[in-house]
């Protein structure tokens, strides 16, 4: 445990103890009344009319259930035979699990995914399932898997597919919604309900603005969790995603495309403002931003003032052999980070950036990680709040 962990642990303990008003005397335990130690179906020898009804109710109920079970079995066998002769039924549609909690449907009025045009539903693919099996977990990270054109141009409409998978270990149902920013037009199906253990393909359209940029924020809201991820929609290196969706690893063509895209990119050690350290022992198995923005958390920024800050990016030792990492502040008056550099597994990168805030805006740090498997983008608030 680090000093920080110990400090935060003691603070939380102290806060909880204060909420409880200090240590209390243990109250007397109220033992549950043991009324279930009597079986009311076991009656004496003279049951009477009501007692007789009770006495016979269990066998009668069992007989009725047996008849119903037999009928259900016959119906099931008939349906299965129908499926055998109809090729359309050979691949069953994704099973629809339990209905979502009533408050999702009624309080939010969000439709089922299957009722929303432009949405395809699939079971989790073998590739995704293997990933889940290997890691033991994965997150509901959305991906753009297919563009109608590899290099969308400003002013020209194009389409793409947004892939969103709800892992088997996640909540039973989420509300999925989205928001385009920085584009001329943008539209995806939704909001809609998405369910555990399924993959959803949303068919979206967009037209880039004059600057050729634009983002799509995908948001998911479950019973206990909510999250979101910012995706770039002007991605010119988007094809590798479709490669990774259909095969166990990146193809030779994807690796070649990656090599061409990053040709000339420097190693991290050769980039001013970047320091390289060993893998963090506190974050095993994790690749991504770690402990960022130490200098800025809690700051009330003054517009026009330049603030330097350091962000950590961790790469797990089991990650891909190489990727290209780039970062930049967004939604700020001005800001910069070191130029893109190559990252490798089993290292921690500390990147020195600077930012000048806009009045009333917290700003975000956007990052993009390009590898042979595809491009991953994301962002985090610079001041530690959304």
């Amino acid at each position: 445990m680090t000093d920080f962990d110990t400090t935060i642990k003691e603070l939380v303990k102290g806060a909880v103890d204060a909420e409880l008003g200090g240590r209390r005397p243990t109250p007397k335990f109220n033992r549950p009344v043991a009324d279930d130690r009597f079986d009311f179906l076991v009656l004496d020898d003279e049951p009477g009319p009501v007692g007789a009804l009770r006495l016979w109710s269990a066998p009668m109920l069992a007989a009725v259930l047996a008849v119903l079970l037999g009928a259900a079995l016959m119906v099931a066998i008939t349906l299965k035979l129908d499926h055998r002769v109809d090729p359309a039924h050979l691949k069953p549609a994704p099973a629809r699990p339990t209905r979502p909690p009533a408050y999702f449907r009624e309080a939010l009025g969000v439709p089922e995914a299957e009722d929303v045009p432009g949405v395809s539903i699939e079971p989790i693919s073998d590739v995704d399932a293997r990933t889940y099996q290997d890691l033991g977990f994965y997150y509901n990270d959305p991906q753009i898997v297919d563009y109608s054109t590899p290099r969308p141009k400003p002013g020209e409409p194009y389409s793409f597919t947004l892939k969103y998978t709800v892992a088997p270990n996640e909540e039973p149902v989420y509300v999925l919604s989205w928001k385009f920013e920085g584009v001329k037009t943008g539209d995806c199906p939704g909001p809609l309900l998405v369910r555990q253990g399924h993959t959803y393909l949303l068919h979206c359209t967009a037209t880039l603005g004059p600057d050729g940029g634009g983002t799509l924020t995908v948001m998911w809201h479950g019973d206990n969790e909510e999250g979101g991820l910012l995706l770039g929609v002007a991605c010119s290196e988007c094809r590798p995603w479709s490669q990774s969706a259909g095969s166990a690893g990146p193809s030779a063509a994807a690796i070649a495309r990656y090599a061409k895209a990053v040709a000339g990119a420097p190693e991290a050690t050769g980039v001013p403002g970047v320091t390289v350290g060993p893998e963090s022992s506190e974050n095993p198995g994790y690749t991504g931003l770690g402990g960022p923005f130490d200098e800025l958390a809690g700051t009330t920024p003054i517009p026009g003032v330049n603030y330097p800050f350091t962000v950590e990016y961790l790469v797990d030792s089991g990650d891909e052999p190489e990727a290209l990492l780039s970062m930049r502040p967004e939604d700020v008056a001005a800001g910069s980070c070191p130029r893109p550099f190559r990252i490798r597994p089993g290292h921690t990168y500390r990147i020195r950036c600077q930012v000048t805030f806009q009045a009333g805006k917290a700003g975000r740090l956007a990052f993009s990680r390009l590898s042979p498997s595809g491009r991953q983008t994301g962002s985090a608030p610079l001041l530690g709040t959304g």
Binding site: V12, G14, L20, N30, F38, Y103, A107, D294
Partner: protein, 182 residues
């Protein structure tokens, strides 16, 4: 109408009762602390702990009895975690129905109620409460019950890898919240 005790139930074993009482005396406070850490409401925390012990008592008085008293604390912790999840789900549902999803006023102390916690303690508590559910559970069990990752995995039903990942992410967020104070 006469009823008679069923044969497959047993009378409470005085030895088990003694073990249960000892366990109750030693574990009531740690479980209350854990429940309070998870639900942030003393009344709910006390109910959750009472339900957890009641469940354990029923188990100890059932036909098979409780054979693994050494595992009783683990059973209680899992019961407290599940009870807290249910309580939070009920609370969230009620707020959703009332249109108060974002309204935390009912959790805030009254204006004339002095808080015993320091500003740093309150900040730590709020930062922990703001984490996603799994990260919050993992760090609460680590901070308030001093559990290992394997014990946390048992109590929450998560895999050990997921526990480590959730802890890392949660700690990273807490570090970002506290900034230079570490």
């Amino acid at each position: 109408m006469a009823v008679r005790p069923t044969a497959d139930r047993r009378a409470p074993d005085p030895a088990d009762d003694g073990r249960f009482d000892a366990l109750y005396r030693s574990q009531w406070w740690p479980m209350l602390r854990l429940a309070q850490g998870l639900v942030d409401d003393v009344g709910s925390a006390e109910d959750i702990v009472q339900d957890a012990f009641a469940g354990l008592y029923r188990k100890s008085a059932s036909s098979g009895g409780l054979t693994e008293w050494g595992a009783a604390a683990g059973y209680l912790r899992a019961s407290v975690v599940n009870g807290a999840r249910s309580a939070l789900r009920r609370r969230r549902t009620v707020r959703a129905w009332l249109g108060q999803l974002r309204n935390d006023t009912e959790q805030a102390p009254a204006a004339d109620e002095p808080s015993l916690a320091s500003a740093d303690q309150q900040l730590a508590r709020r930062a922990l409460a703001a984490l996603p559910r799994r990260q919050r559970e993992v760090l609460t069990l680590r901070f308030l019950a001093d559990l290992t990752d394997a014990e946390i995995a048992d109590a929450t039903g998560m895999s050990a890898a997921h526990v480590r990942s959730a802890a890392s992410r949660g700690l990273a967020t807490l570090r970002a919240t506290f900034g230079g104070q570490s």
